[in-house]
Amino acid sequence: MSEATAQATRAKKRSTIGWLRLPLIVTYAFLYIPIAVLVVMSFNASKTPFVWQGFSTRWYGELVNNELIREGFINTMIVAISATILATILGTLLAIGVARYFRSAIVEAYSLTPAIIPDLALAIGLLAFFSLIGVTLSLFSVLLSHVVFGMAFVAAVVIARLGQTDASLEEASRDLGAGATTTFFKITLPSLAPGIIAGALLVFTLSLDEFVIAFFTNGPSTPTLPIVIYSMVRFGVTPEINALAAILLLVSFTIVLSAQRITRLTDAV
């Protein structure tokens, strides 16, 4: 008994961080100082991006008026929104199929592969595939490519959610007189909703700033935002890029935080 108490006290001591606070602070500084610099510099009045000359929202204004960036933004939105919708539907169906009707570790592993293999490999593979079947590279081929990996991410999240839900909910629905379709829409989908929403938001953020795959599978006339930024940066970083990055950061942060919040809220129910 006293042995156990002593152990508990020791565990408690170990759980207080102590001198480990230092590496923690250093790590966070390493992670967030570049981001902070970026955000601060986006409000810099100076044209040279790394010399502070006073506060200004000038670059945000210029950003809106930049034709290239606006076009890239629209293209990116088209891809991100459509890829999210398609990947969410397909990924959810894939997850339900794999988890409920085709229990096999190999099938499950294959369904998640596109999320795990290197982007470069996936990009080259997709490019080869598109040229093989004769698809003209365009925004549409980027969209399809984003659906491929997006679907895998949605499936991963939804399979995890399916593992937590009581399978007898669906049986109860059948027992109470509901057909298979009603059961799917009234019981299965709502009980998976937190997972589906989290998966969708994940796909949206991933698609928003995806560069490698878009670079390989896009046509020349419809650059997405990351490609536009890349071509701009080749001639030096402008404060405009800082402003753009700050906005993207804000969007991603908001989405990730709300995804976490939604999952936590609905998990409590």
Binding site: D166, S168, L169, E171, A172, S173, R174, D175, L176, G177, A178, G179, T182, K186, I187, P190, S191, A193, A268, V269
Partner: protein
Amino acid sequence: MNTQPHTQSHTSATTTPLLSIQHVSKAYDSTVALDDVSIDIHPNEFFALLGPSGCGKTTLLRAIAGFEAPDTGSITINDDDGKHETNLLALPPNKRPVNLMFQSYALFPHMNVRKNIAYGLEREGMAKDEINVRVDEVLETVALTDKAKARPNQLSGGQRQRVALARAIVKRPKLLLLDEPLSALDRKVRAEMQLELKRLQHEVGITFVVVTHDQEEAMSMADRIAVMHDGRVQQVADPVTLYTRPANVFVADFIGSGTLIPGTASTASGTNEPTAFTAHVSGSPVLPAINPNNVIGESILMLRPEHVRVHTNTAEAALAGTVVETHFYGGSSVTAVQIAGLDTPLMARQPGAPAHRVGEAVALSWNADDAIILTDTSSTP
């Protein structure tokens, strides 16, 4: 040897059974879950399927509900006093006139209590007003009117159980199946809900079929019980018959406590006339017993502790032995008597404090019709 241990009680067999299960078998790969199960369940009965885990009781319940398909056999429901017969196995679960209350209750977490209960009626396409009336009615029956707006996660275990029950009975099924309805509740609530279930069954007039592994639960609630083991029905009878006239050693052992004495039965009376039983203990004494199950040859004599009398005077002895332990339980006491040649001590229960000391030589006696000769199912392969 008796290979068909089924003995149907005929107490209420005069009416047409509501549910008729005939020769149902089901195997998964190499394991047999149900082996030629035949049971008749009568209207308004509170019926229990009792057995240890893995005995096939849940499989049978799920087969009635439509979530398992038996390999062979038939399950039919008789409406209108047998004028109309429905083959359940031909219907999908959502078309069967039975409802199942799940062990986990399976309440829909994204719906409040009212929505949960209304779900089944909405599926029938019932008018909204009528649904509201029916839901209000059933909420009152289970005393949850003030919880109508609550989500399942805001309810206690007992309240959840009552919502699950309300959701099932609001459909007014011919038959309500309950899978371990009380196992998720703690001890105190469980005792309350036992009475509550019995009251509700009486009130709503629906036939209940309860699956349980708890023999006390089954004995206290059910009108009749089917004891199952290894996928087979061992005995179907009312609680008193199960206790006093078990069909075999498994039932005797599973229901209540008792001492089992191996021996040989020589006369097959088939009645409650006293008959002779030669025990395999030292001295091979002939013990008073009855043989209602018609067992011949190697068999087991079962004695309930409360039927065994302990005497100091060895003259009256059916068996003689030495007291090895005494236990006092307040209202009664149990004396364990070691008989030479018997593996476990023989238990005798008397009212009041123990009357004998440990180490004392005593004699044991009992009435012949309290000692039953049983088939030894444990030794048959």
